[in-house]
């Protein structure tokens, strides 16, 4: 729902890192986004196409790597991945306890940019 603001930050970060590197065009931006996020790939790209007009990143493709939700079991210490839809029953596959905490799944990272 706040794709527009997030997209603007992605654009600013990409353009900032491109400057000073003799870049004529940013062709691809690699992102890593946690699955707990509600962002939709299609919408981020659409907003990006709109916001990036006239910038170094015009026409760049957003390549999103979705990072899994990882839980850590407080009982046995094991770590395991879980689908967002399965969060209601997050039992540890090893010991069956559901005393767990979130290890990762909220990432919002611009990893790198491909430029020419």
């Amino acid at each position: 729902m706040h794709e527009l603001q997030v997209t603007e930050r992605i654009l600013n970060i990409a353009v900032k890192h491109a400057s000073g590197h003799d870049v004529s065009k940013i062709v691809r931006i690699h992102l890593k986004i946690g699955e707990l996020s509600d962002l939709e790939d299609e919408w981020i790209q659409r907003y990006f196409d709109y916001l990036s007009e006239g910038t170094l990143a015009e026409g760049a493709e957003l390549a999103i790597e979705w990072a899994p939700i990882v839980l850590g079991c407080e009982a046995c210490g094991s770590r395991y991945e879980i689908r967002r839809e399965a969060l209601a029953s997050p039992e540890c596959p090893k010991c069956g306890e559901n005393d767990c905490r979130l290890i990762s799944g909220r990432e919002y990272l611009v990893k790198n940019i491909e430029v020419i």
Binding site: H2, P90, Y108
Partner: protein
């Protein structure tokens, strides 16, 4: 054909906001002002809950309210007419508040004189969960008519909150809301969360929650 080069960035998209949130927390620690971020869906009863909660807080406590609304003043006017300092932030279409917006809003309040500021965030269970506002504690309201499935639909919101207020408890009889199922769903997502059942309309249960908040504020000020 130009060769494609890779430039490493490794920058968190929310890094700017997180920095702004830490700066705000440092500022509030200096002025000894406890900032509570209150979130919920539209119509869950944020404004009524704030008014009823403040009635139950110690009179010596100096309180301000930061109202976020996409484009209206209705809530700020209600708060101000109860004699409480209220600042209206019109978010201009933004679906949430971030730390920079909150910090700017707080400039209009005399923080040195205030012990507690409550942010009434934009009514929305999705976006506000993603943005650290710089608050000391995050609280959310889930009202009974919304249904017991909300922890399944908006897990992040339930994960980031320190307190859950289950409001409109007076609707329970009319509803198929299953309290046991809802509590189990929430505790699985966030075993640390404090839960209070209230009716902001009748005032039922508000005293216990207000007592918890008063203790938190007193502890923060004494630190």
């Amino acid at each position: 054909m130009d060769e494609v080069r890779l430039i490493e960035v490794k920058q968190d998209i929310h890094a700017d906001n997180e920095r702004a949130a830490e700066e705000l927390r440092a500022r509030l620690a200096d002025t000894k002002t406890f900032l509570l971020n209150l979130m919920s869906s539209p119509g869950a009863g944020k404004t009524t809950t704030i008014l009823k909660t403040l009635e139950q807080m110690p009179e010596s406590l100096e309180v301000g309210v930061l109202e976020a609304d996409i484009d209206s003043m209705v809530d700020a006017e209600r708060i101000a007419s109860a004699g409480i300092s209220a600042i209206q932030l019109r978010t201009g279409g933004f679906c949430h508040l971030d730390a920079a917006m909150v910090s700017k809003g707080l400039d209009a309040l005399d923080l040195d004189a205030l012990d507690l500021v409550i942010i009434e965030n934009v009514g929305n269970l999705v976006c506000p969960a993603e943005f650290d506002t710089g608050a000391v504690r995050n609280a959310m309201i889930l009202s009974v008519p919304e249904g017991d499935d909300k922890p399944l639909k908006y897990p992040l919101m339930f994960t980031v909150c320190d307190v859950l207020l289950v409001n409109k408890i007076d609707y329970m009889e009319l509803s198929d809301f299953d309290m046991g199922v809802m509590l189990e769903r929430v505790e699985r997502l966030n075993p640390e969360i404090e839960i209070f059942e209230i009716s902001a309309k009748t005032g039922w249960g508000v005293k216990e929650w207000a007592a918890w908040l008063s203790r938190e504020v007193a502890g923060f000020i004494a630190d």
